[in-house]
Amino acid sequence: MIDTFFSLDALGSPIALFISLLIGLGFGLSLEQAGFGSSRRLAGIFYFRDMTVLKVMFTAVLTAMLGLSWLLAAGLIKLDSINLLETIYGAQIIGGLLLGIGFVMGGWCPGTAAVGLASGSLDALLFLFGAMGGAVIFNEWYPRLAEYVNWGNQGVLFVYDTLGTTRPVFALAFTAVGVAAFWGSEFLEEYVGTGNLRRHAPVLVVVSIGLLLSAGGLFVTPASPTPGSGHVASFAQVRPGSASISSSDQALLETIETAADHIEPEELADRLMAGDAGLYLVDVRSPAEYAAYHLPGAVNLSLPDLPTALAARRNQGTIVLYSNGMTHPAQARDVLQRQGYQNVYLLTEGLVGFLDRCLKPASVRATVLSDAELKRINAWRSFFLQAAPLPAAASQRGREPDRPSSEGQAVIWPSAVKPEVALPGLVSTAWLADNLGKPGVKVLDLRPQPEYNRGHLPGAVSLQVESLRGMSAGVPSMLLPSSMIVQHFSQLGLRADDIVILIHGEKLHDATLVGMAFDRIQHRYWGILDGGHALWLAEKRPLTRDLPQVQPVSRPPVEESDRFTVTSEQVLRSVRQQDSVIVDVRPVVNFLGTESDEARAGHIPGAVNRPYTEEVVTSSDGVVRFRSRQDLASAWSALGVRPRSENPSPNDGRSTEKPVIVHCRTGHQASQAYFLLNYILGFRDILWYDGGWTEWASRPDLPLATGTPSESGN
């Protein structure tokens, strides 16, 4: 199997850039040798004088297409190792028509103009200047075009799926059209008197035969499914003939025994993603359950209706039945098989198994996954989780980061321990006292080392917050990338499904910052001890000076990027479009710009100020806690962070009216706002600008404002 630079996400590496240069060299050479360094020759195709463009382009397309098809069939490369362009009908139709007009006007297209310039053509130079201007115009108009550019976006779509056929069938038809076009072009050129058939014919005969044989050969490669039989043959478990014996009960039992009547969730997921047209997916659960969530493309049929509804598909394609588990579909399958159906399959472990085996985040899996497995899981997740929201019960198992769930929902906890609130969130000292020391419950003490040494909760491991931050792309104090956090937590003995409770000292935002690290690596079960170490101490609960034994564990790798961290570019875009509430949680003096620790003083234009110290209250005995939920809700509502009116439900991930970006100087204090918005007020889509004022101030190109914002409250 070939790993491409694209599949390794390394297209930006120096070696990939060098190879791009070499490939460009071959590209330019081919174009120039074809005669595409001449605009007159290129434009010839539009006047039927010179069909070289068609001949060269079509030969190239067919060569690459057939070569790739053979390598795919041989299993040497996978399509998902290649950057596949989305089908966006609107942009591609309009863009195509316009490019055609520009092509015939200018006599060039961008690639050939580069070659034309290299061979001395001044009109190519002018065309290139024009093309750069066209790109600039597109950029300037982009704000107005943005809502249309994605019109008709179908995602990645293969033409053989659109036409309901298979790759070999389409490849052969396409090749035949190409070969016919070659001969047609030659005779056309003869007819208008520009032709050179005698010189081209020998090569063309060889090329025609070669292309057609190569396309025809795709039908006999082992991996190529042909319509009708191919779908069944691709089941790994099917033994020849085992599904096609009579409908006697003996045969049925044998089929069940060999599990030849099952389709594994992984295979179903891959085939759904590939848009397999021969697949007929039947959801046999109740209409209510179906309405709440179903696999993409599934139809909802009740058991009594199956024989009638499926009659037309008896032994046509592949019928897959699924329910939550396996009992009902198995009974249905038995009935259908007695009626002579040989193409009915059950989804192994049902929908529950599908969610568990395909859609469960890699970060909460018990086993260590290879890179290939990780990639596969992430591909499934992005495909199936975007397609439709999961039901509440499933989202508890399959989605991250966890939303605060409403009471009464069954949460499947990793161990016998059950916190009184949904995690991530605040847990009480009483709960921690009850559960301290149980397997699967870990405690991290975030206070300075000397304080930890003087006494800590039994079993608590010391963690210094700064060890999770570092320099990234020239910006100091950035939260470490996922891989480094995972490595760090592995050393601390924290398993992916452990419940981790964070103990803070004077700074509550130490705990929320460590929480950002857990969220980044999609560790689902973490909480902050409400009241921190001070409350535990005030309640005279047990402390020790003994150092705990830490056993490093291995954790599965996770996705590098998270969904909540934004860059300065994204913030800048929000500033320009005024489409977000930007909340600066630094002290007022820093916000106004009267005091500064950085190169420039002030704040991001349009930002509102909510000093982080406002969120907490400190009691006389030093216990730092969040203000009440009501206080926080009304304070943030006044800043413009309000639930959307059409979505007034107080629970389960409300949307805000506008996206919210929180930031401070280094990301530390802002993590506290992030926590309270997410896990106390229950908002979704809160964004965190980790670079903060440190980065913003260091970039003279970024705008700033000082003083009080003219429009307050947004």
Partner: protein
């Protein structure tokens, strides 16, 4: 028709172009190599657009960085594989034209066409093509050639539209090639 159009004034007479089917084969194998090694196809317009972003950034950095489309490419838009590919394309074309004795400074046009007319058409055509290739996220190379070889529906639709647009407009611009 296999001789170049320009009247060669050089000391070496230009070599004939390669047989179009062999040139196509060469181009197809280059594209296949790109798929297998880079995991991405060929492209020209993206490199050009990034060059445009770079040039504009030299004049108005803040404006470019804060713009939604170019701004997304960051402070160094040239640090991208398709920019290097475009540079390679130029070098490959240069090498090939030089070795084949086809390098000659010229403004290609029909003898009946004024130089200024041809120049204006080349620039305006460029503007339209440059805009169109950003809209469709690719030009003849990135969409039509690459996407069609991958059998992607949208790219094949795009390819058909390029020719439809070209043939529809051809009549209006025929005079620039008149001899």
């Amino acid at each position: 028709m296999d001789a170049p159009e320009s009247k060669s004034a050089g000391n070496t007479s230009p070599q004939p172009y390669l047989n179009p089917y062999l040139a196509g084969l060469l181009l197809g194998l280059t594209l296949l190599a790109s798929f297998l090694i880079l995991g991405a196809g060929l492209g020209a317009s993206a490199g050009m657009a990034r060059l445009a972003a770079f040039c504009q950034m030299c004049i108005a950095p803040e404006h470019v960085l804060s713009s939604e489309y170019f701004g997304g490419w960051g402070k160094s838009p040239l640090n991208y594989y398709l920019v290097f590919m475009l540079a390679g394309t130029f070098l490959g074309g240069f090498l090939s034209a030089w070795l084949s004795g086809r390098q000659q400074v010229r403004l290609e046009r029909g003898t009946a066409c004024a130089g200024a007319t041809r120049a204006v058409l080349a620039i305006v055509g460029g503007v339209i093509a440059g805009f169109a290739s950003r809209l469709a996220q690719g030009c003849t190379s990135g969409q039509a050639l690459t996407g069609s070889a991958l059998l992607l529906t949208g790219s094949l639709v795009y390819l058909c539209c390029v020719f439809a647009g070209g043939y529809a407009a051809a009549w209006f611009f025929r005079s620039q090639w008149h001899d």
